[in-house]
C-alpha cells in the first residue's frame, strides 16, 4: 500500500487550513473521494461518538484504530471504547490514559466502510479550548487479516502496512502529554481542572437523510417526545371541552339523538332487529362506539391540516399528530358511558362480571381507528379527496356493521362475508361484555383484532413514506 497520508483538511473538511499539518488521521487510500467523517474535530480529537467512512479494502481485513487518551486532570481516567463497523460491534475495550490501539476483524464485504467509535466517557480539554473530548485519533484504517494473527502488535506509531502520519510532539491544546510524570512537572500551560462536561452534550447524533428514519430510531424518538404526546392530547381535550362550555353534553348528544330516533321508529314499526336485549341500550351502545370510531378516524385524517403551523416549523415525530385524536376521543367515549349506565338502569339491563374487560374488548376499534387515521392522513396529503372517500365509507359503514341491528338479522350464507368488516367483531364483543347473557364472539373478535392490526401496519407503512414529503406538500 502507498504510504500516502492525507491530512484531515483534505480528506475530511474538518480542520481549517490553519490547523492543517498538525495531525494525520486517515490513510489516503481508504478515503472515498466523497467520504465524510462525523464527530472528528480539528486536531484529530473525537468526542463520545464519531464515524468515518472509508473505502473498502480489497481483501477482508482488520480494522485498526490508533489513538491516545489525554491526561488532563485525572490520571486514573478510563473510558470504554466500542468500535462498530456498519453498526455491528466488532470490538470493545477499556482504555486508560495514554496510547491505545484496537484491532478487530470486520464483518464481510459491503459497500463502503463505515467505522464508528463510541466512547463511554469524555473529558474536557483545558481552557481556553474547553472542548469535551474522549481521545485523539491518530490512525484509522484497515490491515490485511494475517496481521491479526501476528503474535504481538507492532508498537504504536508504525502499524503494519499502513503508514502513520507523524504525530506532533507537542500537542498544542493539551495540558499534559500522556505518559509524562505527575502534574508538578507539567508544562506551564496547565490550567486548573474543569468540571466534567454536562452529560447530555454529544449524547445523541441526529442524522438527516433523504429517507425515513429507521424504525427503531423512530420508536426512540417517540419515547423522547412522549411528553409532547401527552401535551397534545391534553390540548385536544382542553380545547374541545373548554371552548364550548357544554362540551360534555355535545360529546354525547349525537349518539343519544340517534338512539332516540332509531328507538322511536323501531317502537312505531315494531320491526324485528333480532336483538336479544332491550333495543335502546343496544342501539345506544353501538352508536357510542361507532361515533367514537368515525370521529377518531376523520379527526386523525384531518389532524395534519390542523397542525400545519406546528409541522412546518418544528420537528417532532410527525406520526404523533394523527395518533392524538384517537386517544383524546377516548374521553368522549368515557363521558358517553354515563348516559349508557343510566339507560341500562332504566331498561333494567345488567352487565355481567365480564364488563371489567371492556377496555380490552374495544381495543380492535382503537387500533383500527389509529390505522385508518394514519392511512387516510397520509393519502390526503397526496390528494384531499381521500378524506371524502373516508367520510363516505364511514357513512355506509353504519349500515354494514351491527350498530343499529343485530348480526342475527343477516342471512346465514352472507354472515361470513358480513363479518369481514373489522368493526363487526368488535361491536359484538363490546355488547357481549356490556350486557350479561350475550355470548362472546371469540372468533369474530379475534379476526377483528387481527385485521385492525393489519390496517394499522399498512397505515404506519404508508405514513412513514409520506412523511418524507409531508411539509413540501402542505
Amino acid at each position: 500500500m502507498r504510504p500516502a497520508v492525507r491530512l484531515p483538511d483534505e480528506t475530511n473538511h474538518v480542520a481549517s487550513p490553519a490547523e492543517a499539518g498538525t495531525v494525520g488521521v486517515v490513510p489516503a487510500e481508504h478515503v472515498k473521494p466523497d467520504a465524510w467523517t462525523s464527530g472528528l474535530m480539528h486536531g484529530g480529537w473525537v468526542a463520545d461518538a464519531s464515524a468515518f467512512e472509508l473505502t473498502r479494502p480489497e481483501t477482508p481485513s482488520v480494522v485498526v484504530i490508533d489513538g491516545m487518551i489525554p491526561r488532563i486532570d485525572d490520571p486514573t481516567f478510563t473510558t470504554e471504547l466500542r468500535v462498530l463497523v456498519h453498526g455491528e460491534e466488532v470490538a470493545r475495550q477499556t482504555c486508560g490514559v495514554g496510547q491505545f490501539r484496537v484491532r478487530a476483524p470486520v464483518p464481510p464485504d459491503r459497500d463502503g466502510w463505515r467505522v464508528e467509535l463510541r466512547f463511554s466517557d469524555v473529558q474536557r480539554l483545558p481552557e481556553p479550548d474547553g472542548r469535551p473530548v474522549a481521545a485523539q485519533v491518530r490512525l484509522i484504517g484497515f490491515e490485511a487479516p494475517e496481521s491479526l494473527l501476528a503474535p504481538e502488535a507492532p508498537p504504536p506509531g508504525s502499524s503494519g502496512h499502513v503508514d502513520v502520519a507523524p504525530v506532533p510532539a507537542e500537542a498544542p491544546v493539551l495540558a499534559e502529554v500522556p505518559r509524562e510524570p505527575a502534574a508538578p512537572e507539567a508544562p506551564p500551560a496547565v490550567r486548573p481542572p474543569l468540571p466534567p462536561p454536562p452529560e447530555r452534550i454529544f449524547s445523541s447524533e441526529t442524522v438527516i437523510r433523504p429517507s425515513a428514519v429507521p424504525f427503531n430510531v423512530q420508536l426512540r424518538e417517540m419515547w423522547q417526545f412522549r411528553h409532547l404526546f401527552v401535551a397534545l392530547i391534553w390540548r385536544n381535550i382542553r380545547v374541545e371541552f373548554d371552548a364550548m362550555r357544554l362540551g360534555s353534553i355535545w360529546a354525547v348528544s349525537r349518539p343519544l339523538l340517534f338512539a332516540a330516533v332509531f328507538g322511536y321508529f323501531r317502537h312505531l314499526s315494531g320491526a324485528n332487529t333480532y336483538v336479544e336485549v332491550p333495543y335502546v341500550p343496544y342501539v345506544y351502545s353501538g352508536l357510542l362506539l361507532w361515533t367514537y370510531f368515525t370521529d377518531s378516524a376523520t379527526n386523525a385524517a384531518s389532524a395534519i391540516r390542523m397542525d400545519v403551523a406546528l409541522l412546518s416549523k418544528i420537528y417532532y415525530p410527525r406520526i404523533l399528530t394523527p395518533l392524538v385524536p384517537t386517544i383524546s376521543n377516548l374521553v368522549t367515549l368515557l363521558i358517553g358511558m354515563v348516559p349508557l349506565t343510566l339507560i341500562m338502569i332504566w331498561s333494567d339491563v345488567r352487565p355481567g362480571w365480564s364488563v371489567v374487560f371492556l377496555p380490552v374488548a374495544i381495543l380492535p376499534c382503537i387500533i383500527l381507528a389509529l390505522g385508518l387515521g394514519l392511512l387516510v392522513s397520509a393519502l390526503s396529503i397526496e390528494d384531499r379527496d381521500w378524506e371524502r372517500v373516508l367520510a363516505f365509507g364511514l357513512t355506509i359503514g353504519l349500515w354494514l356493521a351491527p350498530v343499529i341491528y343485530s348480526a342475527e338479522m343477516i342471512p346465514d350464507g352472507f354472515r361470513e362475508i358480513y363479518h369481514l368488516n373489522p368493526m363487526s367483531g368488535v361491536l359484538l364483543g363490546f355488547r357481549a361484555v356490556l350486557f350479561s347473557g350475550l355470548p362472546f364472539p371469540t372468533w369474530e373478535w379475534a379476526y377483528s383484532l387481527a385485521s385492525s392490526c393489519a390496517v394499522f401496519a399498512l397505515g404506519l407503512r404508508v405514513f412513514r413514506r409520506t412523511e418524507l414529503r409531508l411539509v413540501d406538500r402542505l
Binding site: 473538511h13 429517507s211 390540548r235
Partner: protein, 261 residues
C-alpha cells in the same frame, strides 16, 4: 457538531402530480414500494433550492448565513431543523437542536399562557420536570406574569412573542438556529433577547443565525456562509464575507445603470 455533506433540495414548480383519484391510487402504490424520496425528477419545471451544500460547524462556533431572498437560506435551515427532508445528501448533528424559525410556533389561542409554556417546551422535547425547573425564569423573562392564566388569544401580539421567545431562550439548546426572530417586541425586549443569545453563545453553544441585518451578523458571528442560488458562494470570517457581500450588492445595484449608458 454539525456536518453537512452535499445537501440538495429540489422543488417542483406548480403541481407535482395530477390531483385525481387515480393519481391517489398511483401514489399509494408508490408509497408502498419506496421508503426514500427517490431520485430527483428530471423535469424542466423543477429547480434546486439547495445544490450540493457542504460545510462543517465546530462546537461553539457562531455561524451566520447570508444571501438574497431565494438563495436557499430558509431551505437550509428547515432541513437542519428536520422540517423538510433533503432530496440528496446527508447532515449530522450532535446535541439538542432548537430552531426558532418563527416565534410563537405551536401557540394555541385557547390555552392559557401557562399551558402554552408547557406545550411549547414539550414540543422541543422537554419533560414536565425540566419545564418546572425553568418555569419561573421563563415567566420572569417574558414579563407577562399577570396574564399567565389568560388564554393566549387575548394577549397582544407583542406579549405572545415575548412569551414565545422566553420559552425558546430557556430551552438550553446545544445548537441554536435563529431565523430573523430577534426583531420581536420593543427595543428593550429586543436588547434582552440579544443579551440572552449573547449569553447562550458565550457559554459555548453553537449558533446558526440567518439574517439580513449586517449589524447583528457582525456582532454575533465569527464566521459567515454566503449562499447564492442554492450554492455556497463564500465561507469565511464574518468581516471578509460581509465586505464582499456588500461590494457585490453595490455592484449589482450599479450594473443595470452601467449597461444602459
Amino acid at each position: 457538531m454539525v456536518s453537512v455533506r452535499g445537501i440538495s433540495k429540489q422543488y417542483v414548480r406548480g403541481q407535482e402530480t395530477s390531483r385525481s383519484f387515480h393519481g391517489g391510487l398511483a401514489a399509494l402504490a408508490r408509497l408502498l414500494r419506496h421508503e426514500t424520496i427517490g431520485p430527483p425528477a428530471a423535469r424542466s419545471d423543477t429547480f434546486w433550492a439547495l445544490d450540493d451544500v457542504s460545510f462543517d460547524i465546530r462546537y461553539g462556533e457562531r455561524v451566520g448565513i447570508i444571501g438574497k431572498n431565494g438563495a436557499g437560506k430558509s431551505t437550509l435551515v428547515k432541513i437542519l431543523s428536520r422540517v423538510v427532508y433533503p432530496t440528496c445528501g446527508e447532515a449530522r448533528l450532535r446535541g439538542r437542536l432548537v430552531s426558532l424559525l418563527e416565534v410563537g410556533t405551536g401557540f394555541n389561542g385557547d390555552l392559557t399562557g401557562r399551558e402554552n409554556v408547557y406545550m411549547n417546551a414539550s414540543i422541543h422535547g422537554l419533560s414536565r420536570a425540566e419545564i418546572n425547573e425553568r418555569f419561573d425564569e421563563i415567566v420572569e423573562f417574558s414579563g407577562v406574569q399577570t396574564f399567565l392564566d389568560t388564554p393566549v388569544k387575548r394577549y397582544s401580539s407583542g406579549m405572545q412573542m415575548r412569551l414565545a421567545f422566553a420559552v425558546a431562550a430557556h430551552l438550553d439548546p446545544d445548537i441554536l438556529i435563529l431565523d430573523e426572530v430577534l426583531t420581536v417586541g420593543d427595543l428593550e425586549f429586543q436588547q434582552k433577547c440579544l443579551d440572552r443569545v449573547q449569553r447562550l453563545v458565550s457559554e459555548g453553544r453553537t449558533l446558526l443565525f440567518v439574517s439580513h441585518s449586517m449589524d447583528s451578523l457582525a456582532s454575533f458571528c465569527d464566521r459567515c456562509i454566503w449562499l447564492e442560488a442554492g450554492r455556497i458562494r463564500a465561507d469565511g470570517p464574518t468581516d471578509e464575507i460581509l465586505d464582499e457581500y456588500r461590494r457585490s450588492e453595490t455592484l449589482a445595484g450599479h450594473a443595470p445603470a452601467g449597461a444602459a449608458s
